[in-house]
Amino acid sequence: MHWGLAVNVYDTVQRIVEKCVIADQGGIDWLWVTDFPAVRHAPSLAAVVAENVKRSRIGVGLVSPLLYGPEQIVQFMSTLIDNYGERFDLLIGPGDRTQLSRIGVKYGNISTLVTRLVSDVTKIRDELDERGYDGVRVWLGAQGPKMIAASIKADGVLLNYTDPEMLRWALTVLGDIPKGFQIGAFPPAFIAVNPDCGKESGLRKSAATVAMGLGRSVSLEFGLMDTLSAARSSLRQKKSVDRDVVDAIDEATLKRFALCTTPEGACDYVKTLERMGLDMVTFGPPQGTSRKLVKNLVKTREHWNNTA
């Protein structure tokens, strides 16, 4: 089972590097550097992370092909590899619709979005292969059933779920899994010795953001249509996930979209996902926001190594 960390790209480059070095030295297998709407440019950030870490693989993304064309994506991945070796993977997804529209990038026809993304993934993979960069794994970020099913065309899928029940459902949507295909989970996470989950506003906001991204069919599948309706109304008015949106979701529901636990609890969680057949867990925000939380993850990983 591989462990990943979503790097907090709202930090300065210096702090990002410090935390990546801690994670790298502590045995975290993957460092994921997301792109827009983050302030910093993920491909450039991936270069500075690669310059400073020794063993972790570096994931570039989530990157939206709506913002960068497949040719541009191939160009930055190949430049990273040419300068720093075969240590990079790529995560593709449509990106945040509201944020993209603020910079003049439109989703276009929504009914063809999944098809277009899969076509871009294929183009990127083929082009990288043709140029001899066959060590890059191209992942697709997925939450809805169409995207999950389509992800089989990529090298792996990063499922935007925390709750094992939801992940189990996603696995059924995936169906037969081709050899070598990787499956990862991407839970918002807060791992600490004594976590006070109700007070962790960063975690609650991350959980609410994932919950608000849930499509109609998934909400119906898990009986969340009514539960999330007040938060959705609030989001329509506010246009961003703020405290009112978060508070409109009940605690039990929020818990399904985030991992708030002790190091021992986190190891149990990882064990559960491993038994389900997952290959990777990438701990999402706020786990990457502070050195302390990154160190907590490293200690959790040590605990895992010692008890596995």
Partner: protein, 330 residues
């Protein structure tokens, strides 16, 4: 005394760009400029990041990034990232882009001077941690900010050519990246200085970087490659600049037509020594540094060596920088 820098392009291999960056300090290089061959070779921002990381203590700039080819938010974010990576050593060099490149990409800009002015204005506002709404020919931003905790200063150098663009650069830029025949460069520097004075700025407020193709003939430079590069430069030269030159206009127009129809390789037979001398810096190291000195005397604050790089270009580069150091009395 002028700064002496090295120019790289994205179409160079990582082994070559990495060599320049890692050896820049030892060579005595003051800066590295990265030109974007649109869509070719290395990605410009990742290359700039690697160059900043591989070099120590010198300025690294893009020279230039065509603003209409990238989303403005990407440009703003990349520049912030690079300035942090370089701890203040990064320069954002921007422009509209070469005629040939934009045509190839089917990018049409009706008002290039306005587009560049607005692009620079928006970038600076975003770097000042402002929220920006703008809807223009090349910019679409709605209540967008970089969410910076504090403003960040990033020098903007403009790669410009025509008189209106030169005036714009004199008014708003921290520096200008110029390329063209000597007669044109003399004119361009004068226009920039006049525009900067007119805007109440000091002459020194606008740095003048001159980047010409450099062709060291003493270390096995391939003549064909040199001629191909000069053909590209001639093809991108607008008519008002050609009017300034004491050269057979018909000959230059024939080169332009050949490049447009069949590419720069096809124009190689049309490039003679007279044209090479007009559009490039070539010869032995002493002669090349003589020409750099001449540019410094004309008001260039920085000269850029290369590309094209071929033959024993590493040795040629070392010897040219040794010659510059010798004349500086180092």
């Amino acid at each position: 005394m002028y700064r002496a820098s090295v120019g790289l392009t994205t179409n160079m291999k990582a082994s070559a760009t990495g060599w320049v960056a890692r050896n820049a300090g030892e060579l005595g290089v003051d800066g590295i400029w990265i030109g974007e061959d649109i869509g070719l070779g290395q990605e410009p921002f990742v290359l700039a990041a690697a160059t900043l990381l591989q070099s120590k203590g010198i300025r690294v700039g893009t020279g230039i990034i065509p603003i209409a080819v990238h989303n403005i938010a990407t440009l703003a974010r990349a520049a912030v990232t690079l300035q942090e990576i370089g701890e203040g050593r990064f320069i954002f060099g921007a422009g509209i882009g070469g005629i040939q490149d934009l045509q190839r990409m089917n990018v049409k800009i009706r008002r290039p001077v306005t587009a560049l002015r607005e692009g620079v204005d928006v970038l600076r506002r975003l770097w000042q941690a402002e929220s920006v709404t703008r809807n223009t020919e090349v910019l679409q931003l709605q209540d967008y900010s970089l969410r910076l905790k504090k403003p960040i200063e990033i020098p903007v150098f403009l790669g410009v050519r025509g008189p209106q663009m030169l005036k714009l650069a004199g008014r708003i830029a921290n520096g200008v990246i110029l390329s063209g025949p000597f007669d044109y460069l003399r004119y361009a520097i004068e226009v920039i200085d006049n525009a900067s004075s007119g805007a109440g700025r000091k002459r020194d407020d606008v740095e003048k970087v001159v980047w010409l193709p450099t062709i060291p003939t003493f270390k096995g430079m391939k003549e064909k490659l040199a001629k191909k590069v000069v053909a590209i430069v001639v093809a991108d030269m607008p008519p008002p600049i050609l009017d300034m030159l004491q050269l057979n206009r018909e000959k230059l127009e024939r080169i332009q037509a050949e490049v447009a129809a069949n590419g720069p390789k096809a124009a190689i037979p049309l490039i003679d020594q007279e044209i090479i001398d007009m559009f490039a810096i070539s010869g032995n190291k002493e002669h090349m540094v003589d020409l750099f000195d001449q540019l410094g005397g004309m008001g260039a604050t920085e000269v850029v060596l290369g590309p094209p790089f071929s033959g024993e270009w590493r040795e040629a580069m070392s010897e040219i920088f040794e010659e510059i150091a010798l004349r500086r009395g180092a």
